[in-house]
Symmetry: C2
Subunit: 190 residues, 2 copies
DNA sequence: GTCTATAAGCAGATAGAC
DNA sequence: GTCTATCTGCTTATAGAC
C-alpha cells in the first residue's frame, strides 16, 4: 500500500537534514519543499504548526537518535573496547565524518534558541546523562562521571565547529579518537 | 569635533554583537538599525555592501581581537602562569563569561558559511597558529603544539555550545580552567 | 551623514479546488 | 493528501530630500 509517497519518518529525516545544514532562519519553506518534494501547502498539512512544529519533532528525533545510537551502544553488552567502538562509529555516521553540523548547536542560535530552550536542554541532557549513567554504572564516581560526560560532548561539538571553520573534518575524526581512548580507559578502569 | 555621533568602531562593535547573537540570517537590517541607532539607509551609507560587507568587517575585527587579546598576552612577557592567566581573563571577557556565542561558529552556518569560507578559515587560523607559534617558541614540538592549539580552540567552541544548550555558563568557565592548567603546564615544561 | 519614502521580492501561512 | 492561488508582512536595497 503506497498510500503515502513518502513515509513520515523519511520526510522528517529530510527536514532534519535541512535544519541542521541551514539553521532555523536559513531553512525556508521553499527549501523544505525542495528537500522533501512536497509543496509548501502539503508541508502545512503534515505540520500545521509550521517550522516551529517541525523543529520540535526534529529535536525529538535527535533525542531518540542520541539515546539509541550513542548512549545505547555504551549501555550494551561486550567489552568496554567494543562498546565504545560502536558508539564512536555511530557518531561518525551521525555527523557524516565531520561534514555535518549538530542540530543542538544550530537550533540554539538567536531567537530560535529561546523558543526551543526546553527541548534543546532536554536533548543535550539525554546525551550527557546517558554518558554519565554508564560511567557511574562502571564504578566511576559521580563528579568524575559528569565531568567526563561534559568533556566528551564539549569535544564533539567543538570539533564540529572547528572542522567547519577551517574546512578540515579530520579535526572531528581526531577528536573522536581521543574520546574513544579516554572513555575506553575510564570504563576499563572503572 | 563630534562630526559623527558615533565612531565607526563603536558602530561596528554593536554590529558585531548583533551578528554573534542572532547569526547571519537572523540579523535583519531592522535589528542592526535598532542596535546602532542608525536608520537602515544610513547603514547602507557606511556599508554600501550591506550585510555581507558588515560581516567581512566583523570578521576582520574578530581576527584583530584574537591576535591582540588572546594570542598577544601569551606572547608577552612574564611567567607562563601570568601570561596564560591574562589570556584566560580576556577570553572570559570576550565571551561574556560564557553567555555569548562565537562569531566563528555562527557565521559558519548555512549559505553564509560558504560566502565567508575564506574569512572564517583565516580568522580561525590566526587563533590556532598564534597558539601554535607560542607553544613552539616555548620548546614544544610542532606536532604537539598544533594538537594543543586545536584542543584549546575545540574546548572553547564546544563549551560555548554546551553552555548555551543547557543554559549553564559554568561549563565554559570550567573549560577555561582546564585549558589554563593545560597551557600553563605545557609552557612551564617547554 | 541622516532621514522619509518606496521599490521589488521573498518570507510564513491559509483557503479551497481536486 | 496534494495542488494552485493568494494574502500579509517583512526582507534587502535604493532614490532623493534635507
Amino acid at each position: 500500500m503506497p498510500a503515502a509517497l513518502m513515509d513520515r519518518q523519511t520526510v522528517l529525516d529530510k527536514i532534519f537534514a535541512a535544519f541542521r545544514t541551514y539553521g532555523y532562519e536559513g531553512t525556508t519553506l521553499a527549501r523544505l519543499s525542495e528537500a522533501t518534494g512536497l509543496g509548501r501547502a502539503s508541508l502545512y498539512h503534515h505540520f500545521p504548526g509550521g517550522k516551529e512544529q517541525m523543529v520540535r519533532e526534529v529535536l525529538q528525533l535527535a533525542q531518540a537518535a542520541l539515546q539509541r545510537d550513542v548512549v545505547g551502544p555504551l549501555e550494551g553488552t561486550g567489552t568496554p573496547h567494543a562498546r565504545v567502538r560502536r558508539m564512536i562509529e555511530n557518531l561518525k555516521t551521525l555527523y557524516a565524518n565531520g561534514e555535518a553540523s549538530c542540530v543542538i548547536n544550530l537550533m540554539g542560535v538567536g531567537e530560535a534558541g529561546e523558543t526551543f530552550r526546553g527541548e534543546l536542554s532536554a536533548t543535550t541532557e539525554v546525551w550527557l546523562q546517558g554518558l554519565e549513567r554508564t560511567l557511574k554504572a562502571a564504578g566511576i564516581r559521580a563528579a568524575a562521571a559528569r565531568k567526563l560526560a561534559i568533556d566528551t560532548v564539549v569535544r564533539i561539538e567543538g570539533s564540529l565547529v572547528v572542522s567547519r571553520a577551517i574546512g578540515d573534518p579530520s579535526v572531528f575524526i581526531r577528536a573522536l579518537g581521543e574520546s574513544e581512548r579516554e572513555l575506553e580507559q575510564a570504563l576499563g578502569a572503572g
